[in-house]
Every structure is written in C-alpha cells, then in structure tokens.
Point group: C3
Chain length 269, copies 3
C-alpha cells in the first residue's frame, strides 16, 4: 500500500468561521496529496491546557510521521515563537505557549523542539493575527513533502511549558487528582491514569476502591451500561484515564462538575 502523509488539526476556531477551511486551502496549495483530519476545532477558546491534553492523549492513533497542527494561540502576533516539535516519530507545529506541554512531560526521551525561523516557507501575504494560516499550515504542508526538520530553524531548549497537574499520593491508601475536562456526554475526565490506580492498589490488593467527587461516593465499572440505574459511577475511559459518568445522563451537568474539581481515591481495607 502506498504511503500518503497526514496532517491533523486541533484549534479553537470553531465551525462557524472559515478559518480552519482556509488553513486547508493553504495546505492543499502546497501539497495536494495529503490527508487532513480535524481532531477538533472546538477547543474552549484560548484554553491552552485543553489543547495540550487533546493532542497529547490522541496523536498516537495516527500514522507515524503525521504532522499535528495545534493552533490555540491567544498571543498571536506578539513575540511568542512558532515551534516544530519532534516526538515519538510524530511532528507537532504550533505556538510556543505550552500547547505541547503533554509531550514535554511524557515523550521526553526523543524530544526535539525547533524554533521555526525559515520565513521563506511562510505564506507571502501574511498578517500578524493569523499565523495558523500564514506560518503553521505552510510549515506542516512542507513537512509532508519531505522537507527535513533542520530546514525549519534551530533547536531550542527554553521552550514554554505549562503545568499539567499530576495526581498526588496523600497517604498509602489515598490518591488525589482532578477533573481535566468534560466531554460531550457530560463525562468528567480526570488526570488519574489506570496505571496510577494500579500503583495504589499494589499497596493493598484486597482493598475496595472508593472514588469521591463533589461529595458523591462511587464505584469503578468496566463499561457505561454496567452502571444502569446506579447513578454516578466511574470507569477507565478509552484513553486509559479515570472518568466519572452517569449512564444515559450527564454527570457534569447533574452535579455541576467543572475542570479543576478534586477527585479522591481511597483504598479501604
């Protein structure tokens, strides 16, 4: 089967305005033989942390050598640098404002961060307010034509990372994490991984796991419909993170759950 390059897009441009479509026009003008996938254009406007989680938790479902555009960029036009990040045999293009922090934290072994300075690659009629169109899209397209990463600029080490909260072990049998985002179904996704729970349970393999959020006490299920008629519940979601849900309902709106809310896991003997 022949190889065909792929570009993903993660932005806060929404689906009302033509911004994302225009970026695709710029890409196809440079490389018409590329697949483009919208990861989402509905990142909460200017929410860098949400963008960081979205690309960080999902890029590995795409082919190796994919180029991932991440354009959540409140500082566009100011001095912040455009970056090309190479990590885990994938490419990431976007602003130096922390949108790649998940990669900095989790894919650190083979990380390479390049400050894009090769202005001859940019769109000619550029504007200070839409670098997604004028800088990031052309760079992603040139990457998929086979242009070497060294042609984009010099490697830097002083890139800007934002804090992505990790769960904390309060005692041998208590772990505290937080809600990191709410999905379309009203499920509250936390920053606690399946592997974190396994670590906790290693202390007391026979212990019963109880999960607390917003004063509610719930149990871990394997899949959504297992919780039928049992109210608010939790499971390990398809990305390997602890998520709180109501079967055929919205946990977030029923209990007013918001990103940042504290989740506690307790192993009882």
């Amino acid at each position: 089967m022949s190889h065909k390059p792929l570009i993903t897009m993660t932005t806060d441009f929404g689906y009302d305005d033509p911004f994302a479509g225009v970026m695709k026009g710029v890409i196809y003008t440079i490389n018409p033989n590329v697949n483009i996938v919208d990861l989402t254009h509905n990142i909460t406007p200017q929410n860098i942390q949400e963008a960081a989680y979205t690309i960080g938790m999902n890029y590995h479902y795409f082919p190796k050598d994919s180029a991932h555009l991440v354009v959540v960029d409140p500082e566009v036009g100011s001095g912040r640098r455009p970056l090309l990040v190479v990590a885990d045999e994938h490419y990431f293009i976007g602003p130096d404002n922390g949108v790649f922090s998940y990669l900095y934290k989790n894919a650190a072994r083979d990380l390479k961060v390049i400050h894009i300075t090769s202005e001859h690659l940019f769109l000619k009629k550029d504007s200070p307010t839409f670098q997604g169109r004028d800088i990031f899209s052309p760079c992603a397209a040139w990457l998929t034509t086979g242009l070497d990463v060294d042609k984009f600029g010099e490697a830097v080490s002083d890139y800007h990372a934002i804090e992505l909260p990790s769960p904390v072990r309060l005692t041998d049998v208590v772990m505290q994490g937080e809600v990191i985002f709410i999905d379309r179904f009203g499920n509250a996704i936390t920053n606690i991984k399946q592997t974190d729970i396994a670590d906790l349970q290693r202390m007391q393999p026979e212990g019963a796991l109880r999960i607390f959020l917003k004063g509610k006490d719930m149990q871990l299920r394997s899949y959504y419909s297992q919780a039928e008629d049992r109210g608010i519940s939790a499971l390990i979601n398809s990305s390997g993170y602890l998520a709180v849900f109501i079967y055929r309902g919205s946990a977030a709106s029923e209990y007013g759950i918001l990103p940042g809310d504290v989740v506690k896991l307790v192993l009882s003997s």
Copy 2:
C-alpha cells in the same frame, strides 16, 4: 477514472471531542487511500432510531461498495455484538442494537448480516468503552482494502431490530403517520413517503389533500418559497418524505413539534 474506496461516518460523538478524528486516524493507518465523509456526528446522543433513519435514507447517495460506519452505541462494552451488514451493494459496520433497522426493513432482498468475530483485525490496545475506534474503524478500513466479508465472521439471523413506525391507513381516505425527526431549519420530517400519499390519492384522484399536525391544517407545496406568507405548510422533501415547514421560519419551535407527534392526511371529496 480510478476507483477510490469511501467510508462514511454517522455517530453521536459531536464535534467537541476528538473521538471522530481518532477513528479517522485508525482508518488512515490501515488504508491511507480512502475518502472519508462525515454524514453527521450530531446524532442525538444514544438515539438509535435517529441513526437508523439517517444512514438508511442516505447511503444510496454514495458510491457502490462504500463502507458506512454507524456508531451510536449506549451498550458499548456489554455483550452486544459488532456487526457487518451487506445490503444493496453497500457495507455497514456498527453495533447490534438496531442502528441498521431501516436496512433490515427496506433492503431485505440481498441482506447479509455478519457477526464480527475476527479479533486479529481489531486495534491491539483496545478498551471496552470505544469500539468505534478499536473494532468498527479497523474493520471498515480492512473492508476498503478488499478483504472479503467472509473473513470478518459468520452470518447470523438473530440480529436486533428496532421498530421503525410505518404510517397506518385509518380509513380509505385517512392516513396517520408521525414526526420522525426535526432538521436544522426546524422542519419536521414525517414517516409518510411520497409513495404512501400516491397510494392514498389513488382512492379518490380528484380529492383535495389536507394535512393535520398539532391542530393545524395545511396544504402540500412543491418547494419552500411557494409557502411565503402562508404560515405552516408541507411538502415532499428531498428524501421523498412528507415534511412540515414554515418558509424562513422554524415550524418545530413555533408549534412545539417533537418526534413522535401524530400527522394525519385526509382526502376530502
């Protein structure tokens, strides 16, 4: 012109979360030379009937041999089976929960329903909560590479169908149907087909057709702007179904029309 395979997607994943994009990543990893079309990702969450109508009424606008993913799947992770349905020279992949009922009802001649059991085709790192990513997308992608349907599993006949309400003939000159969904423009689409109306009119070819919904009495128009300044009206929509509308307005919100509301057709002499 060279052939290029096509996959459509019909889901309730929405456009906020990366679920649909991730499914495309899985597809392109297996077969980069495929066109992917979003039919919609805004099926009302967990509304199996709406999904059944959406795919059933629209698949024939796509090329023969297209693969149609339908992922509205509240029971994901439970025992419900993954299916591959062959009907009318098209392929359909999704859960055995009734999403293919329109096909069972209307494309019965050449219908083949296969319980997908070939686990070697699935994504390795699978989760019980996202079979759209782990089972349905890879199977659709493998189909488009030319893999024979018999390689996916065994044919079954005990698949799960849901009731899709048919219009009922109350008397020689009265037919009763119902609203099956509301579109973006606030048009109320009914389950009464153009051919049902033709059957009714055969009884009394000179009779005037009157249409009743929510206590309103309306006439059949040929196209939307014909009803200018005439309030709530009806026409045969582009899928061949009776639809109730207000020109440049929303019939559904103005009259509180909901799926399930009764529509009556009366032929008066």
Copy 3:
C-alpha cells in the same frame, strides 16, 4: 507534485443533518480523486450576504482552478437559475440569488457568469428542494474532471447581485462603515479595508486615528494581545478588514454589537 482538484463548500446546512455529507457522496461518485474542504456549513440560515462575504474574502487561499460550492438558497425550487461563475481563475457554483455579489463587485475584470442548463449533468433522481445535491454538487464534480465551462450552459449578464455596503467618506477626515459579521470569538468584522484607512490617512499623515462603535472610542492595535487590559480595541484582521475586539473576551456580546451597526473613523489633527 501531481495536480489534484479541489472543491470547497459554503452552506447553511449546519452539522446536525446529513445534507453536506450527501453532497460529498454525490461528488465522490462522479470524481473520487478530488479534495473536498468545508469552508463552513454554519452560514446563518438563508443569509445570502454572509455567504457572499465568506466565499469572496477567502477563495484566494485555495489553489487556482478550485471549484467553490455556495449553497445558501432560500428560493430553491422556484424559478431562480443555477449559476457557474468563473472569476480570477476560480470556479463558483450556486444559485442566482446574490451569493456571488462579492465577486461581481471585486473580480469584475475576467468575470464570466454561466446559466447552468445542461440537465444531463444533474443527478437523475432529482427533487425541487435540494439542488445542492442534485445540480450544484454534480456540476462541481464534473468541472473537476476537466469538463469545459461552455458545456454547462450559456453566458448571461442579467445575474442577480445584492448590495454589499461600502464605507462612505463623510468628510476629508471622517469615514463611516458598518459591521458585516461577528466571528466565533465575538469579534465584529467591519466593511472597512486596510486600504480604505490608508486612503483616509493620506489626507493627514500625522493625524491620530480614532474609531467609534456603539459610543465607544478605541484605538488601532497590531495584534490581539497588545490590547490586554485596555478593553474594546480595533485591529486590521487577517483578511485585511478593520475588526473590533476585546482581548480574551467577546466585544459583540459585551457591547451588543450586531451586523449593520455603524462604525466611524475620525482622523484628528
């Protein structure tokens, strides 16, 4: 690099219903080797002016010879004509209701407007209410296979244009324009171009530019984050138009700005 044709879509069909997806099915059935880009499907329902601005201000970011579908069509089914417009080495397909007025006004030099009458190119099972599917999509697809524009119908000169308001010079130092649309971020885009402002400033190169909207008096910034903590501000946006914004806020909702609101520019000595 091999050439691959491209079709864009600008409609008011939204993302809930399968209309846009069905149009893509029709296109790929005729030409599977085409890239399709959604410019937007969220034009305000039946807002012809918004569609005219959207396609007119963005088509030039796509490759030459692209075919641009514009389907905002409240009169569908009535006598209004289907058109193929050739302008600036791009093709535009849609109804004769004014959606191409921006092109008529700004790309007049090499403009060619063809009334599409070649019914053998249309979808066979046609309906009077969905010409986007039955007429416009097949014609766009046939264009991308290389069919000559003369095969679609005869050139006409009595096409329907709508008024797109231009800014007016009230005195040597005062210019009046209006808001033409609001984007996802709540920015109010006006009909005043960067070149209009340059013309104004030529009168008094040393003068300070003040911008008035809704009783607020604001200054011109270069990029969004420059206006931090300074409330409502203005800049030249990425399309070259004056836009009013609040950094990390919504100017439109905070000040109740709507399309049609008057904007005044004053050069003070």
